[in-house]
């Protein structure tokens, strides 16, 4: 049984972690991922420069697109999560949102086919920026000691409860938040790429078998692959939105006053 299915030689079946490492392009420092990140940065710079080079009161098509992305982030993320203070951070959130969307969408662009965010290094750096940012902003607003006290000690609690609560608060604020931020993005993109690999490569493996029925049923695998590619668009947008929303929420909570 399994002998028929693994008849296709040369196909990377089953998909494994090794498929996430395409060969280096030029030496160990230039990989497909570095090029993709540079491409994303370049695309964003060119897009925002071109659309805002000559702003008009009645916007052109490009200016309208750039403005609606900025408006979405400012109104639905920054102001929703942080109130009036959020407007200051809206440009950073917009760039972060666009960068994550573009790099996530690389996962389904023909020719690129893998998202840099499916390597945990990239989400870690993005989460680290948010982490340092909310710690620094909290410490600057309240002073280091008061910020720590405010985020670790729950007011109005009988004192023996603090033994139970302080470790939980510490782990939540300083460990769980950045780790979940990075891991959520990484895991979604990793799993998405793996799903696409399973259906497309699996379809070719079924096509290469010598049984006519298995060959016919490979159509189902290809249909699933196409559906999953559209599903990945949704996941890419949603994960970028969630990442930026949570970043805004964390910064907002370190700006908040004691209640």
């Amino acid at each position: 049984m399994s002998g028929q299915l693994v008849a296709a030689e040369g196909l990377p079946w089953p998909p494994s972690v090794g498929d996430f490492y395409p060969p280096d392009l030029a030496g160990p420092w230039v990989t497909k991922f570095t090029l993709m990140v540079w491409l994303a940065v370049g695309l964003l710079i060119v897009f925002f420069m071109a659309t805002y080079r000559n702003p008009k009161l009645v916007p052109s098509k490009g200016q309208w697109m750039a403005e609606s992305v900025y408006g979405l982030v400012r109104d639905n993320i920054a102001r929703e999560q942080m109130g009036r203070d959020g407007i200051r951070f809206a440009p950073y959130f917009t760039v972060l949102f666009c960068f994550i969307v573009v790099t996530n969408l690389f996962g389904i662009v023909p020719g690129l086919q893998i998202s840099p965010n499916s390597h945990i290094a990239f989400p870690i750096v993005l989460a680290l920026i948010s982490y340092v940012m909310y710690l620094y902003i909290g410490a600057r607003k309240h002073g280091l000691g008061r910020y720590l006290k405010q985020s670790l000690i729950l007011p109005g609690v009988p004192w023996p409860m603090h033994f139970l609560l302080i470790p939980i608060e510490f782990l939540q604020t300083f460990v769980v938040r950045p780790v979940t931020l990075a891991v959520r993005l990484f895991a979604n993109m990793f799993a998405g790429h793996l799903i696409l690999l399973v259906f497309t490569v699996g379809g070719f493996v079924m096509l290469a078998s010598d049984n006519i029925f298995i060959q016919i049923s490979s159509v189902a695998a290809f249909v699933m692959a196409i559906l999953m590619a559209f599903f990945e668009v949704l996941v890419a947008l949603l994960q970028a939105y969630v990442f930026v929303t949570l970043t805004a929420n964390y910064i907002g909570s370190s700006l908040a006053d004691e209640h």
């Binding site: 729950l154 409860m161 782990l171 929420n249």
Partner: protein
Amino acid sequence: MADNPHRRSPDEHSSEGVAGAVLGYLLAGIVVWGFLGWLAGEFLGLPTGVGIAVGMMLGAAGAIYLIMKRLSA
């Protein structure tokens, strides 16, 4: 853009923030107290599993207490 009449006051928590915070607090509580319970069980020579079970219960209880105090005031 017209002002949304259901706009919340900024100090109220948003639903995405609440869901993330609930998960984070629970995970933190269960992990840290489960680990401390496991350590206590190892040192006191309790039967396997008792320390970690008690620790996880305690951590979940503390996390739920914290969530109710912090997020639903």
